[in-house]
């Protein structure tokens, strides 16, 4: 690990001003950041401890929207009664991630900022365009069972690892950020970037910007939601495939559908093509299968992960059946 300067801040302004310097990182729960620092993957010169900023509240707005502080712990969000009741997809996604110990430390903002678990990214002896731009991608011709099949490029096939983000993509969350120039909001699907030719640029935050909140829009009444994750072991493991499903079914017809996939995309993967199939369609297994096929229609498998195309379809179909069956 590189030596670094630790700064503890008490308010957002102080955090933002301290962050203007290059090679500066915020730290909250540290569940990913510290690992990366110990492995010399992140080598910040300055680390800003933002745990005292008070961004740890979950507020229910009059609109029915939920405003989640960026420092809310994953566990606290997962077990919040309103989240469990109105947004089970989010609670289930959070509880399917990591382990209880990690969830007790990990923050919502940190979860948005966590980095891929591609093994080549974690091993500085291998080429990785995300870690060292221009060095190459060892995963494309290497061991890539857990890598992405959607949104990949010839520079990077790393999967976005988060479960929470998949649920938030489906829920159409809004990210609130604050920088030197003031506050702004970012729609969830615009926050993370596809790798393209610049896989080291992963999101649209500016150097001085701090995530302050994530807002979850209220769902129309009668909406049902669910998160399903398939993985190699029962806990403490990233998804092979996962699906976040939000459905509003009235009289057997799908009025609204919001779908996202995990474990398969280079970013939390909103399945817009599948949503198109479902909206207005009858809620039945045949339509779910058609939607799943649409969701994966642009998927590209690599040597070890072609199975994910079929597994992701099945995961989405199962999640739709489970959710639709509850309406």
């Amino acid at each position: 690990m590189e030596p670094f300067k630790l700064i503890r801040v008490q308010d957002n302004q102080a955090a933002i001003h301290a962050a203007g310097v290059t090679r500066t990182k915020f730290i909250a729960g540290g569940t990913n950041m510290l690992d990366l620092m110990k492995l010399n993957i992140e080598t910040p010169k300055q680390v800003i401890d933002i745990n005292k900023l008070g961004l740890n509240k979950i507020e229910e707005l009059k609109s029915g929207n939920i405003l989640i502080g960026a420092l809310v712990k994953n566990s606290d969000l997962a077990y919040h009664p309103t989240i469990i009741k109105n947004f089970p997809v989010l609670s289930e996604a959070l509880l399917s991630g990591a382990s209880p110990q990690l969830r007790n430390m990990a923050s919502v903002g940190g979860n948005l900022m966590q980095r891929t678990r591609c093994p080549y990214f974690y091993n500085t002896d291998f080429a990785c365009n995300k870690r060292v731009p221009g060095s190459g991608c060892a995963a494309i011709d290497g061991y890539n069972r857990n890598n992405a099949i959607l949104g990949t490029s010839d520079k990077c096939i790393a999967t976005h690892p988060s479960d929470m983000c998949v649920a938030m993509a489906a829920l159409g969350a809004i990210i609130h950020v604050q920088g030197i120039k003031g506050v702004r909001t970012i729609p969830f699907t615009d926050f993370h970037l596809l790798p393209g030719q610049t896989p080291h640029i992963e999101h649209t935050l500016k150097q001085d910007e701090l995530i302050t909140h994530v807002e979850i829009p209220a769902l129309p009444s009668g909406s049902k939601s669910h998160y399903l994750k398939v993985r190699d072991r029962a806990s403490y493991e990233f998804a092979l495939t996962s699906a976040a499903v939000v459905l509003n079914i009235q009289n057997g017809r799908i009025k609204n559908a919001r779908l996202a996939l995990g474990g398969v995309g280079t970013k939390p993967w909103r399945a817009l093509l599948a949503e198109k199939v479902l909206i207005g369609a009858i809620a039945n297994e045949q339509n779910y299968r058609t939607a799943a096929a649409a969701a994966l229609s642009q998927a590209k498998g690599h040597k070890d992960n072609t199975f994910k195309i079929e597994l992701a379809k099945r995961t989405l179909v199962r999640a739709l059946i489970t959710t639709g069956g509850m309406s």
Binding site: F126, Y143, R145, R233, A234, L240, R314
Partner: protein
Amino acid sequence: MIESVGKPIDRVDGRLKVTGAATYAAEFPVKNLAYGVSVLSTITKGRVKIVDIAQAKKMPGVIGIMTSENSMQLHFPNASDPGGGKFAEKDLLPLQNDRVFYGGQHIAVVIAETFEQAEHAAATIKILYDEQAPVVGLEKNIATAYKPGAGLGGAETQTKRGDAEAALQTAAVKTDETYTTPVYHHNAMEPHATIAEWKGDELMVYDATQSVMGVKGLLTSMLGIPAEKVRVVALYIGGGFGSKGFTWGNTILAAMAAKQFNRPVKLVLSRQQAFSAAGRRTQTIQKLALGADQNGKLSAIKHATTSETSFVDEFVETAGVATSMIYSSPNVDVSHELVRLNRGTPCPTRAPGEAPGTYALEAAMDELANKLKLDPLQLRLINHADMEEQKKKQFSSKNLKECYQRGADAIGWSKRNPTPGVTREGKYLVGYGMATATYPANRSASTARATLFADGHAEILCGTQDIGTGTYTIATQIAADAFGLPIDKVKVKLGDSMYPKGAQSGGSQVTASVGPAVRAAALGAISKLIDLAVSDSNSSLHGYKKGDIIADNGRIHLKSNPVKAETYTQILNRNGLDKVEAQAKTNVSTRAQAPTPAPAGSPEAKAEEESKANAAVQADEKTDRTPYSFHSFGAQFVKVLVDPDLGTIKVDKIVGVMDIGKVMNLKTATNQIMGGMIFGIGMALMENTQYDPNNGRVVTRDLAQYLVPVHADIPEIEVQFIDKPDPYISPLGARGIGEIGITGITAAIANAIYNATGKRVRDLPITPDKLI
């Protein structure tokens, strides 16, 4: 007094461990300690041109940097087994030259005032190489396979009886399939860790090892110093599973650095480093053919294994080792081949050979049963080996049929539908599978010292070690019964090469080897005490015959009249003694090797001499073991639930019924078997190490990338023991138990998955992608 052997007594070191008071190798408070961090190769094959340490040298806290340019010269190790000290890679003694044989090989060691400083400096070291094309991939290089010599401990690697090939040609029913298993890493919780400290010409080493005596022997020969100048301590070990049986670079490098920089040095391998520099279980490709008649009687077994080794030593994963003895068959052909790859050298991993070997054999038996339309359990009973057919010997003790029956009852085998893929519990397909477990019952020479103190407590010293299996606890129980004392009056001290030489912790042999020595030493001390009493006119036992007197609850008394008694304290006090001491060496091997006498003048030679008058040793050594083959057996039964759409597998229940002779401690024994079975779940369903297909270096090298089972993966586990003493292995009747739990279980899971889904996966691990 009630015997304590067999009882489910809590670990005597349990409280120390859960409170953090037990001191592991890296935790000894050594003054003026310096910290080492090893720098490993980042190419797979070639030569080191330049190790650029210019920047690192100048960094804060750096004391020095050891490379092949400046490190001391080592001598060639003079033993090749863990008991005498086995350096894992005989042709790659660390930092002796510029050659690179694999990725993740030691190239330099940075020594600094703090660990953080050493790490920081290590990260700045740049290595320039002359890179060569490495040999990568077992399948790709299978044309280079060769037949190795003997395996570890002289294990035969090519075994034949009859003509298996001819019998297969004429067999009414046969299966012939290839089964593959990936590389597995031990991943003990405690890393490979060493602290080395020189005091003048004396070397003190705290090491995470399965063999304090082996490390002592190895350091003696590699450093070229007298044995009496080296002391190795390993009081507690956080798991070894074979990876700490051989000695790896960290141990010798710590001793070299401590000498070179004249400071005590701590060197701990990181989790990532252990994936290349501390052994593994090799990949295997196993061709398994079975031939049988219409009734299911086996006529032929052919088991050909190909696995990999390194370019710097030879290790054979003897996957076929159990195949020649586990079932009755007139024709058997077991062979092993090795392919040299640019990877580090493999080493034993819990049940080396048997673990992957019983997977292939027992999965093949399931396939054969299916073809014969026979119950797989019935097929095992038809082919039960009443004797060891390869060596043509009787088993010392075998109760396998009872294991099958009890296991079948416990899992509910009668509920198994012989037609695969059709039985459901809710949305899940349900399946049952079973397999035979087996592991040899090893025993080797061990020495122990017993001391009875005038205050009424007793002590045992033995130069073996407790690698987390419960050796402290069962040695306490065995000693307590022999001393005639409650267990809280007995202190067992292990893990120090100053103590009399005990067995190394490998091959499941410690209980069988050390237990009888501990017992004999304690009985020897009691015998001396009785001698004191009967020859003392002031004793109430004066003049009685020795054989009429027994020890019980801190007293010796007449068998026929318990009132005629004296406490140990009374006897010692009256004689003005603060203690009475005895040493015993039990020189017994179940591998039919002639016991080798200790070198004249050595501590073991003295123990041997004293043992000539020790009735317990004499009776034990006089037992004729040559007519017998010593093996443990068991039956593994599994119920699984499989989601047919998503391919996810839930092991719902597992049952292991083990015939391991007499159980010394029901709690630690259950724990050992359960641990082995959980290892088996990992092996069957998730564990595997991946190497980069292009450059051959390890890709998955931490516990996030290398999956081991978590609590949520583990079902209800039922462990049962037959608990019948083995009459020939030792007076205690106990065979070893550390490894048999992992045998058979992997096949039982695979067989259950077949029964659930109708899909036969012959390539471990069985993950969701292989079932959809």
